[in-house]
Amino acid sequence: MSDRTALAYTFDGSFGGLLCCVFESYMRKEEPVDILPEGEPTFYPCHQIHTDLAQAKRVWKSLVHISRETAGWVSAGWASCSAGRERSLYQFIRLAYQYGAQVTSMFAEPAVDQVFRMVRSQRNEAHLYMELLRFSDYKGSLVSVISPKCLVLQQLARHFADRFPEERFLIYDETHRQGLFYQPYQWTIQTVDGLELNQPGEEEYLFRSLWQRYYNTISIEGRYNPKCRQTHCPKRFWKHMTEMEGVTIQEGSVEPPIQSLPSSFPKAILKEIHP
């Protein structure tokens, strides 16, 4: 394998396409130095891979066969949409074939480490959206708009389908222009070109204002701590959150955590530590 010319694979940019790249590389007994979506510039000579869903399925099945976790990592890593995911995932899959299920605990391998980070960020974001996503009622159906970095609709679908089995809802992913449509006991994720919403009804405004009032009331003034809030609830989520409309950060004095030193504390040492 090693004495051949360095080669890059290009594919159509779909998840199936990536799996076909894996398939091809084993068929042709070569290891591409890079895997790129079509049209991206590269200095390497390119080999174009055609997506064949039957091949992709074979690769996917083999991953599930190794372990559910391994397959889960590959799909979550893909959904993370982070730069260079194709290459890391390709190397991860190679390692998975080599070492089997234990690949997910081999953090010393750079590819495993990278994929682990991608998986973690994807799952964290999906979880954050389970927390921070807000629905609005439009004539009995629920609509929510989100702008995630990763593809999170799959996880949200499972979560909200279980939570609201009798509702009809739509979650629109602005970034990737995808919509999750749910009606009792079935759901689908489809590409949506754009979403234009009418004004919601009066009742919706009532509950929004109730929620905003509740949000403002529940915080204890004497403990005002905007930094802590922002750590838990990053600002990029605010624009779609009902209660964050018009929230400004005041210059508040956060109480320094130290009140006084106990007499038992060795003063000499303190002096020494303090520059």
Binding site: M130, L133, R163, E166, P257, Q259
Partner: protein
């Protein structure tokens, strides 16, 4: 009074309750119903004070027959009173829930007329939610001390978690500030809930469809800093609560002065947030790290160290038990090393089965070497360049920021000075570029 006003009054009255978790029970959704529960709980928002908002935390009513000195809702306080009707509150909960604002309801109440009546009103709300609305989400209910055990049992079968607030950490303080409440009144329902949960577990084994009684357990909370109780007293009480009453959680709430009273701290007292933080740290040590209250504090040191967290403090005091060998130390000992948590201790156990661990490996596992380096040996060696002297250890364990704050004079009158802090890099640059 309209709903908006009611919500404002009753949420405002409930906000000093610290507990707002939705954890402890995992339940999937049901066809025809609404809601599910996740074992770890889900936070839905974060208020301006940085605390999570998971549940709709409100009082059923804020008019109370008691006159506890620290409480905003006390009888003698001149404030606006309101009460939800059961239907109103159930509807509000469902509407908030389906918009994904909240994870469920946290229902508490001031005592209206008498404890039984109050409890019945709460049961009405929960029965409406669980029955008519087929609500399957999380419900946390406060048990009202003094209510009939049958009512408490009914409440327990409708909610997920129950709690009774101890409020003040000693009988003396309780007697002083809430003359109408007795310690027994608080402990009785706690014991009842504990027994109920225990009976229920054995019932569930025998009859699969037995109604579940408070499946997420019970919790309590106490107010920190309203009375002169020491950290040691509080921690001992906490430990007794976990052991005797099998509580899931004990919450601490730094006292916010809301009432002027000669028996209470003055109104301009700041809430003892650091003390609350230290107590939570110690609480975790009790629950997950196998520490005992007596190890962390003793008669000579009755309060926590302001600069060192309880675990570091313990390690510094017991430096003779360190360093320990990463590759052979048992789990219990590893847990006591500052910088190693439950997760990393478990990872060390599984990683060292494969081969000897070095400091590089520990870093990847997630051990905080900044703290752990002084207490660990890898293959019989300390980390390169580490010398264990009391000064070096303290220097590493105390954060620079805390130290600066501690050494700056606090509130005392002082003469203005050009150099009230040592000049830093930025100051020098500003000076040099003439931007002063």
């Amino acid at each position: 009074m309209d709903l908006l006003e009611k919500l404002t009054i009753l949420a405002d009255a409930a906000k000093y309750d610290a507990a707002c978790t939705s954890s402890g029970v995992s339940r999937s959704g049901r066809k025809g119903g609404i809601g599910n529960c996740a074992a770890a709980g889900i936070c839905h928002s974060f208020s301006a004070d940085g605390r999570c908002i998971s549940l709709l935390k409100v009082l059923m009513t804020n008019s109370c027959i008691y006159d506890c000195k620290y409480c905003v809702n006390r009888r003698s306080n001149d404030c606006r009173r309101a009460a939800f009707s059961p239907r109103e509150l159930a509807e509000l909960t469902i509407q908030f829930y389906r918009r994904n604002y909240i994870e469920g309801l946290f229902l508490s109440s001031a005592v209206l007329k008498n404890p039984d009546y109050t409890c019945e009103r709460m049961i009405e709300v929960l029965a409406l939610l669980r029955g008519e609305y087929r609500f399957n989400g999380y419900i946390h209910a406060k048990a009202i001390p003094g209510a009939d055990p049958l009512l408490l049992y009914r409440l327990g079968t409708l909610c997920d978690r129950m709690s009774v607030n101890i409020e003040l950490p000693s009988q003396k303080s309780l007697h002083l500030l809430c003359p109408e409440k007795r310690k027994e009144d608080i402990l009785k329902p706690m014991g009842f809930i504990r027994d109920g949960i225990q009976e229920n577990t054995s019932e569930l084994v025998r009859y699969h469809h037995a109604p579940k009684f408070a499946p997420a357990g019970q919790s309590t909370q106490m107010i920190i800093g309203a009375t002169p109780d020491t950290d040691l007293q509080i921690l001992r009480l906490t430990q007794a609560m976990y052991q005797k009453y099998r509580l899931k959680r004990v919450f601490y709430s730094a006292y916010m002065p809301v009432q002027a009273d000669s028996l209470l701290p003055t109104l301009d007292t700041k809430p003892p947030l650091l003390r609350e933080h230290r107590l939570y740290q110690a609480d975790w040590l009790l629950r997950f790290y196998g520490f005992q209250a007596e190890e962390l504090l003793d008669e000579a040191h009755q309060n926590f160290h302001p600069l060192l967290d309880p675990k570091c403090n313990w390690a510094v005091q017991h430096i003779d038990q360190f360093p320990v060998e990463v590759n052979s130390a048992p789990y219990e000992i590893l847990l006591r090393v500052p910088g190693i948590g439950v997760k990393s201790a478990k990872r060390i156990l599984s990683a060292r089965r494969a081969g000897p661990l070095g400091f590089e490996g520990l870093k990847k596992i997630g051990v905080v070497l900044k703290r752990a380096q002084f207490f660990l040996l890898c293959n019989g060696k300390l980390m390169e360049g580490v010398s264990v002297t009391p000064t070096a250890v303290l220097r590493a364990l105390v954060s620079q920021q805390d130290l600066e704050r501690a050494t700056l004079p606090q509130g005392a009158p002082e003469q203005l000075s050009l150099f009230d802090r040592p000049p830093q890099k930025e100051d020098v640059i500003q000076c040099l570029t003439g931007q002063l």
